[in-house]
Amino acid sequence: MSDNYTLYNQTVMDHFLNPRNLGDLKDADGVGEVGAAACGDIMKISLKIEDGKIKDARFKTFGCGSAIASSSMATELIKGRSIEEAMSFSNQEVVSALGGLPPVKIHCSVLAEEALKAALEDYLKKHPEMAARVQPKAEAPPA
C-alpha cells in the first residue's frame, strides 16, 4: 500500500499547497477579476508591466485545488513575456505545465487564462498607445 494518494498529480498539489505569486501587487498596472458561472470560482490576477513586458504577476483565487494551482502556474508562466505574447496565452499551457488536470477541472485553467486576459485588457484600457501597437484591429478604447 502506498503511503500517499492524491486527487491531483504532485505538481498540481504542490502549486495548491505552496502557491507561487500569491497576493496583490501594489501599484499594479493591470488587474483582472473573473468568475466562473459554472462552478462559482473567482480568480484575480494583478500585473506589473514595464517596457511592454510583464515584470511581475500575482494572483488571488476563491476556488478548488485545481483553480488555485492553475492561477499559481499561470502567473509563473506569464512573467517575462511581452504583452503580444501574453495576449495569445492559452489555458492549454497551464494544463501542460501542471502535467494535466482531470477533464472536469479543465475549466479552472480556462478561468486562469481569462483572468490574465482581463488584467491585460485593464492595462491596455489605461494605455491606449500600447493598445494601438499590440491590437490594431481591436475597437478603439473610449477617449
Binding site: D24, A37, A38, C39, G40, K44, T61, G63, C64, G65
Partner: protein, 420 residues
C-alpha cells in the same frame, strides 16, 4: 501525524466481531445458499440468523420481511421501482421530499420517463418536511410516499411517524430511506408506519457489498433484477453471504451499543461545533442545531469566502478525512441539491464541509480538528481568497454576519462572471 476520520456517513471500519463471524463464510463455508446440501443449508441458516438480527434493529414483525441486496442504493432502487411497477394499475403518482438521496430521486426520474409522475415536497430552511404538505399532495393515483428518516447532508431528522400515519390513512405504501440513521437512531418500522425501509450496513461498522430492504406484506413489490428465485423472488443473484453475516453482527452490536454511541457522538458533535464557532469567524451551521432534531453524527458547515474542495484537500494533507457538498467536489459542478433546497446561497454552498462522527472519535481528535481547521485550512485559504480581501476592505459583505457594508457576494460574482 494524527489521523482523524470524520467521514462516517460515507463508510465505517468493519467491527472485529463482524470480521470474525464473516471469515468462515469466505473460506470453508462457501456454499450457495440456494443449494440443498449441507454447505448450502449452512449458508442459508447463517443468512436467516442475520435477518433475525436486523429485524431486531428495526423492530420488524418478521425476519422474513428482511431482504438483502448489494447496497443501500440498490435497496432504494428496488423499493421505488419495485413498488411502482407492482402498483402501476392502481396509479402512477409518487410523492417524495426534494432532499432525498439521488438513489431515490434518480429512480423516480427514471420512472417519470416511463409515464409515472412525481410531486416533490419542499423542505424548510432547516431541511424539514411538513407532514401536512405530504397530506396535501397525495391523490387517489398515489402509489408510493418516500421520505428519508434523516437527511444524509444536513442531518435533519424528518417527522416520519406523522408522515407514516398520513400514508396509512390514505392506504399508500410508505418507504423510508434510513441510510443516514440506521444504527445511530432508534428505528421502529411499526411505529413509523413504514412498509419499506432501507439502509447500508457499511454505515454502522458492517461490511460493504450488502444492502438491506425491509418490506412488509402490505406493500406489493416486484423484482427489478430477474433470474433465479433468491430473496423470495424479489432479487435474482446469489446473496453475498459473508457480508450478510457481518451485517447481522453489526446490526446486533449497533442495537446493543446504540445509547452509548449516540451519547458519545452527540457530546463530540456539540464540542466540535462550539469550538469551531469560537475559533473561526464567519462560519455557519447548515441544518438543525445539534439536539433532538439533528442526527448526532453529522455536522454540516459553510465557511465564508473560501471553497470546500480546497478545505477538504488541506484537511486531508493534515490527516483529517471529511466530505464536501461544494460544486467543485461534484462531478456535475453543481452544489449539493440539499443545500440548494434549504435556500443556501451559492457562495456558502461552495464553502461547504461535512464532518461525520463515529464511535471511535475522541476529544483529542476534536481538539486537533478545530486547531488544524482554523490555522492550517481556513487561514491560508482566506489569505488566498480575493473575496476575503474584498470583504476586509468593505467591498463585499458577509452573508452570515452582515456588516451593512459593501455589496453581496452574489451581486459581486454576477458582475465579474464570464461565460464559463
Amino acid at each position: 501525524m494524527r489521523q482523524v476520520y470524520l467521514d462516517h456517513q460515507s463508510a465505517t471500519p468493519l467491527l472485529p466481531e463482524a470480521l470474525d463471524a464473516m471469515r468462515p463464510f469466505l473460506t470453508e463455508a462457501f456454499g450457495n445458499p440456494s443449494s440443498l446440501h449441507q454447505l448450502g443449508l449452512r449458508a442459508r441458516e447463517a443468512m436467516h440468523h442475520a435477518r433475525v438480527q436486523i429485524a431486531a434493529l428495526l423492530n420488524a414483525e418478521s425476519p422474513e420481511d428482511i431482504f438483502f441486496t448489494s447496497d443501500g442504493q440498490e435497496s432504494a432502487n428496488l423499493a421505488v421501482k419495485g413498488v411502482a411497477y407492482a402498483n402501476q394499475r392502481k396509479g402512477h403518482h409518487i410523492v417524495c421530499s426534494e432532499t432525498e438521496h439521488p438513489a431515490v430521486l434518480n429512480s423516480i426520474e427514471f420512472l417519470e420517463k416511463q409515464g409515472f409522475t412525481c410531486t416533490k415536497v419542499k423542505v424548510d430552511r432547516q431541511g424539514f418536511v411538513n407532514p401536512d404538505e405530504v397530506r396535501a399532495v397525495i391523490t387517489d393515483q398515489t402509489i408510493l410516499v418516500a421520505v428519508h428518516h434523516v437527511n444524509h447532508d444536513i442531518g435533519a431528522i424528518e417527522p416520519v411517524k406523522a408522515i407514516g400515519r398520513i400514508a396509512a390513512e390514505r392506504g399508500v405504501p410508505f418507504y423510508v430511506d434510513a441510510e443516514a440513521s440506521a444504527g445511530w437512531l432508534p428505528i421502529d418500522v411499526q411505529a413509523f408506519g413504514a412498509n419499506l425501509l432501507s439502509f447500508s450496513p457499511h454505515k454502522l461498522y458492517g461490511p460493504k457489498g450488502v444492502g438491506v430492504l425491509y418490506r412488509n406484506k402490505k406493500a406489493r413489490l416486484v423484482s427489478i433484477l430477474h433470474g433465479g428465485v433468491q430473496e423470495g423472488g424479489r432479487r435474482a443473484g446469489i446473496e453475498n453471504v459473508p457480508a450478510i453475516v457481518g451485517a447481522g453482527v453489526a446490526a446486533e452490536l449497533a442495537l446493543r451499543d446504540m445509547p452509548q454511541r449516540i451519547a458519545h457522538t452527540a457530546r463530540l458533535q456539540r464540542k466540535l461545533w462550539e469550538q469551531l464557532q469560537a475559533r473561526v469567524p464567519y462560519l455557519q451551521l447548515n441544518g438543525p442545531e445539534p439536539g433532538p432534531h439533528r442526527i448526532s453524527t453529522n455536522l454540516n458547515i459553510s465557511t465564508e469566502f473560501i471553497e470546500g474542495e480546497g478545505q477538504l484537500l488541506r484537511c486531508d494533507v493534515h490527516g483529517i478525512a471529511v466530505a464536501s457538498g461544494s460544486s467543485c467536489v461534484s462531478k456535475s459542478l453543481k452544489i449539493s441539491h440539499v443545500l440548494a433546497a434549504i435556500g443556501l446561497n451559492h457562495a456558502l454552498a461552495q464553502g461547504n464541509l461535512i464532518m461525520s462522527l463515529g464511535k471511535d472519535n475522541t476529544d483529542e481528535d476534536i481538539d486537533y480538528v478545530v486547531e488544524t481547521f482554523a490555522e492550517k485550512v481556513v487561514a491560508p485559504l482566506r489569505a488566498m481568497s480575493p473575496m476575503w480581501d474584498e470583504f476586509e476592505r468593505g467591498l463585499i459583505d458577509s452573508a452570515i454576519h452582515p456588516r451593512g457594508q459593501g455589496k453581496s457576494f452574489a451581486a459581486h460574482a454576477a458582475t465579474i462572471s464570464g461565460k464559463h
